[in-house]
Point group: D2
Chain length 404, copies 4
């Protein structure tokens, strides 16, 4: 299908597609057959990605990336999503990708040198430390309890975070903390760069969770107990933490949409291949209409995701906030891709549940998408508020109804 992307976008996606087919997916197949996941393997994949000009395309050249426009990178994200190894290989893997984006956007030159460039190079890793345990910040970030208090030219961070992706492996964290407890949290919260080995940072424990089979990555519980950082550790503007988080999230949600669309598309390809190969009741499964049509539905909805995401990206590129189209894309994509993966498993029967195919790993991994980066319910809340805006309510429509 033709999506009217720019020539740059197409070339990038084409290179990514070849890289996936020729390198990443065969590597994944080895892992599924029992091979080990190692740091060396990651390094090899990344070296090959650099070689093929598909490494960190979204970051400026001066910091080690390829300097592409956001909209031009989207199709590559879809390619990358076709294997759980793809984003890692092309260095567009969460949470590092979002963290790089944030530092590039609002960081100082010193911060970029210290954190962004080694991140891009793949020498270090990072975590985004926002979510807190029960009773703290979650879907409702206003409930944040972690604080950063100014003490001379230092900030002292105290708090308790949970579900920090890559928490156990990170070299540093972007920590979100309230810096003006009298203000509304949206106007009194800031971001800080905190080294993982700073005094007072305690990785309580990694939280085992769905989706750790292919890439053994933690989601850690972390305590910040009187952690002191210098003024230079403030990332972006004081008290603007939520604004920066939103700047990070808009594009990040769209890149997630594309990545998971890639996953769903691959899942359907596997299902179609299996159906084409497997016979039952006197014909191949591919000839059975019910699942054929179910797949047609999914292809249709994935097509919808691709047109919605491009629309939202165009809004963002035009400098608009694009909150509603982003929320719509995200909630629609998350539900669609989860269902597409689920359908693919069903079409493959027993093999679909086995870890010989990547579908079982996809099944576990995709489940997060309806929860992270704004749960379905949070996005629906935003969309509904807009839908019930007074401009959309027209009392004259009820004129014919009897009333008291």
């Amino acid at each position: 299908m033709e999506y009217h992307d720019s020539p740059e976008a197409r070339e990038l996606a084409e290179r990514a597609r070849a890289f996936m087919d020729e390198v990443v997916i065969p590597t994944e197949r080895d892992l599924l057959a029992g091979g080990p996941f190692t740091e060396d393997l990651v390094d090899e994949l990344r070296a090959e990605a650099r070689e093929r000009d598909v490494y960190c395309p979204q970051i400026d050249e001066e910091h080690g990336g390829m300097g592409h426009e956001f909209a031009d990178v989207l199709p590559l994200f879809e390619e990358a999503g076709r294997s759980l190894l793809g984003a890692t290989a092309m260095r567009v893997d969460a949470p590092d990708e979002g963290n790089m984006h944030t530092i590039e956007l609002v960081g100082t030159e010193a911060q970029k040198e210290e954190y962004l460039e080694p991140l891009v190079a793949g020498e270090i890793r990072s975590g985004f430390s926002m979510t807190e345990p029960r009773d703290g910040a979650g879907s409702d970030p206003k409930m944040m309890r972690t604080t950063a208090t100014k003490d001379g030219d230092e900030w002292v961070i105290d708090g308790h975070k949970w579900w920090t992706t890559q928490g156990d492996e990170a070299d540093f964290f972007i920590v979100m903390a309230r810096t003006d407890v009298d203000a509304h949290p949206y106007e009194g919260t800031s971001l800080f760069l905190v080294d993982a080995d700073a005094d007072g940072v305690e990785i309580v424990e990694p939280t085992p969770h769905l989706g750790q089979s292919m890439i053994p990555e933690s989601h850690a519980e972390i305590r910040y107990d009187g952690v002191r950082v210098s003024e230079d550790a403030l990332l972006g503007t004081e008290n603007m933490g939520f604004v920066h988080a939103q700047q990070r999230l808009g594009p990040a949600r769209l890149t997630h949409c594309m990545r998971f669309t890639g996953m769903a598309t691959r899942a359907l390809t596997i299902a179609k291949t299996y159906m084409d190969d497997r016979e039952a009741f006197d014909s191949t499964l591919a000839e059975k209409q019910a699942q054929r049509y179910a797949i047609a539905d999914m292809e249709t909805r994935l097509h919808a995701v691709r047109t919605m995401v491009r629309h939202a990206a165009r809004q963002i590129s035009a400098g608009e906030e694009a909150r509603i189209p982003v929320s719509m894309s995200k909630v629609f994509a998350a539900n669609t891709t989860q269902e597409a993966v689920d359908l693919s498993i069903q079409c493959c029967g027993g093999p679909g549940m086995s870890r010989k195919l990547p579908l079982a790993d996809f099944y576990d991994a995709v489940r997060a998408f309806r929860i992270v980066d704004g749960a379905d319910e949070v996005h629906k809340r935003v969309i509904a508020r807009d839908a019930f805006d007074e401009a959309n309510v027209r009392p004259e429509e009820l004129a014919n109804l009897p009333t008291f």
Copy 2:
């Protein structure tokens, strides 16, 4: 929401929006309150539409229209769909709109003068006579049994049609008939212009059906018994009837998508207004989350329709067939708009079922959309065939699975 339409498209839509709000919807309200639907009323609406420059925008100026590009007219179609009277008022009403399009596309100058121009002017009406009774052409048009046989310089048409929209009111029909019975139907069928008062044309009876409450239009059963027409009655190229029908249907399906999207959007507006007004269990219905979120889902899916339709229109404007994106848009739009209307009724409770609001009429009218212009199942068939194309089947994906 901004959809990046051209300035021409926006201005046209804006004028249409004002026309709907100021003229058409108030007229509809009068009808729902018990006022009569008359020819005079249609004439008045059309005069006002001409006045406001929203009349027949899709037809060339030389034939009485406004000469707009297809893609530029789409947003107007959405506006027109907000009332069942809208398309009639702006003279973009089926089946005349599609028939005008076909004659404009493949008709001779004489045919345009005789049929197209009076159609545009609203002086005559037309039917598209394709569907046949049981055992004849329906979802599978290959089963067509109506024939046209050359006899000297005349064609003799024999057949039995059903479900000809506007059959009882039409001044002429575009009749689809097999002209080469030895060829595959797709390569041996032609279109003919047949006057309703020609000898041998018998309107057997109008078929009562869902959706006749607002505009009393028939879907007739018609027999063609030795109907003789001259060679000049052939519309387009001999034996190319199915190609012409497809040329008609691609854009027509997209305009239907937009019209029904307009209907669904209006339905949701009515629902939101009712919910904002009505209290139950200590708050307004608008404050009840379950239906708010259900509406958010619908708004999301309607947004998806709008981005998909524009994508497909762009393909068509680029001269591509766009069969898959059109089928995807159509099947997705038809299901979405039916559900949106149904949800709107549910949100309005009793009043939703009453004919004091337009929702009950919408409910009946929208049901046709999943059946006409290709039933859901026909579009899924096309989409699935494309999805299972051999390029999408990759045997290497099964390499890890045991086999015999």
Copy 3:
């Protein structure tokens, strides 16, 4: 399928089945072909129903019925539902059936003689006047504004009702009015028997609505303006109106479930017959797997309705309130039957939309079921309240989660 009903229930259902197949459905077919609906036709159907021992089976013999137990009549209701004429023919038609039930349950001997017996005989008709216009009682009956004030040995009724089924045709109404405005409405509302020709009763107008094609029945707006009735007009116990309404509704909801299950089953039978007859793309529609499986899903869900309804009826027969199983049955049945009818139309294509088959009428009629007798949302509210009962909340389940 065997549902372990009593021998009485089976025999009754078998007679009803024969009556439907041999008399009612052929009569319906005549109406769909254009025949007129007349009072004589109703009388003939009822005479035949009496002859075949399927007339008013749920009412005691002393009042003109057959004296069957509630649970034994359920399978007959399913049979009756197979045509929109069935309930009328067997005199189990709403709202008269529910009104008969209420008078039989809580009426005085005099009331039974004056109202119940002529109702059973089909000599008079009745309405249940509860719902009020916007701002009054609807889904939330606590908002009731109609009052009945004691004045000597008379009650004076003032109020404004809407959506009173059969309002225009009724000989009397059961009117629900607040009799103790200081009490909570659930404890201060009563039922009254009010003759339609009493002074102060004004039928403002019938409200046109979905579903009037087969049986032309009104849903009227009615004003009660200082209507005086004697003490004997109080139906049941003073201030117990809501309790009586619930006694009426529990069983009535189950009988509705069975009626609409019958409608859905008939709709599917028509769809299967059409699919068996109609060919497209080289095989009959019955051989196309996607719709076959969609029908299998519906059959499954209708089977679920039948087992749920029987379970709830058993609870009611044991003297329990059965509020949760009744609400579950109702909301599940309403959604299932609407979808089954909708699917049947889709399977029939164009003919499904025509009024030559009963499906279009079913489509309009079934839409009410998710709204009347408690909208979906009201039942879900009740079910959710029960589900979140503190007995179902177990804090120890969260023991492993981190917290502040």
Copy 4:
């Protein structure tokens, strides 16, 4: 909710409920907090189950069970399903439970002594070896390729099986093999008892799959290469293997329905507890209507499962085949329980994905249910065939439609 079970059934379920709440679920909580799963732990749980009279209730007392009727054990199965450890603890765990049932039903006394009694005692384990790799038996068991050939008074088994549950741990297998290759497979296949250490049995490898987190159980690929067993190893009647498999499957499908219903119910309890505890946007999640209503829907559908399963069990107890009600129960239960678990995760947000709660394990485990014991598609095939039976097709319904 009251389901009209027998007093025996209720007492059994009540004891099981207490056992689950007091012993099994706390043990599960320890495992989720990081404790090890050991054989000792299983032994302790089973000792306690014996103590509390909830051990192997479905097997005759003479073979070590409790001798309860099938229908009376169903509610216990629901209790057991509330934790993945429950079935193991009460010795009603698949595939041993089904294997015990089969041996009890068709085995000889010697077979019962050798295999059934140690199974009941928990001294040995077993596998059911039916499914084969690609191109062999799967959803369509007619495609079976494994054979058993008579050679003197021995049978020689040759074949390749896959997906044999507990394959790596089993002490013996029930192997399904074709014994009359000229007959239709349904009439030429037999069951054999094969010791795991017999010559020619090769466990190729365990197949990693979804759902191994709580109980590390294999699904192995196995080759049978000229495995010789004596005549006494034939289980049941020669060539009646499929009949025996069906006898096993009917009740087994219903017990699975109840087990997974228990899992879904527990998942919803956890979700409700979390929602009751967690706040966001100014109220607890339990007060948010959208998810409350989604839970109400699930409770409704689980209620439907319970009434359907009891209906089917009653049919089976009456000696009927009950194929349709069993298939309906199974496909409906599998989809409902999967959705209930998925919803519960969504309601819990991040914690729902963590393995601190059992939901993530449930999510993986429940995915199998729509595939094993007849995939959805296989059951729909059976239900559809019944629905389109000629008795359900009535040509007179189309009498009003025009035709050629």
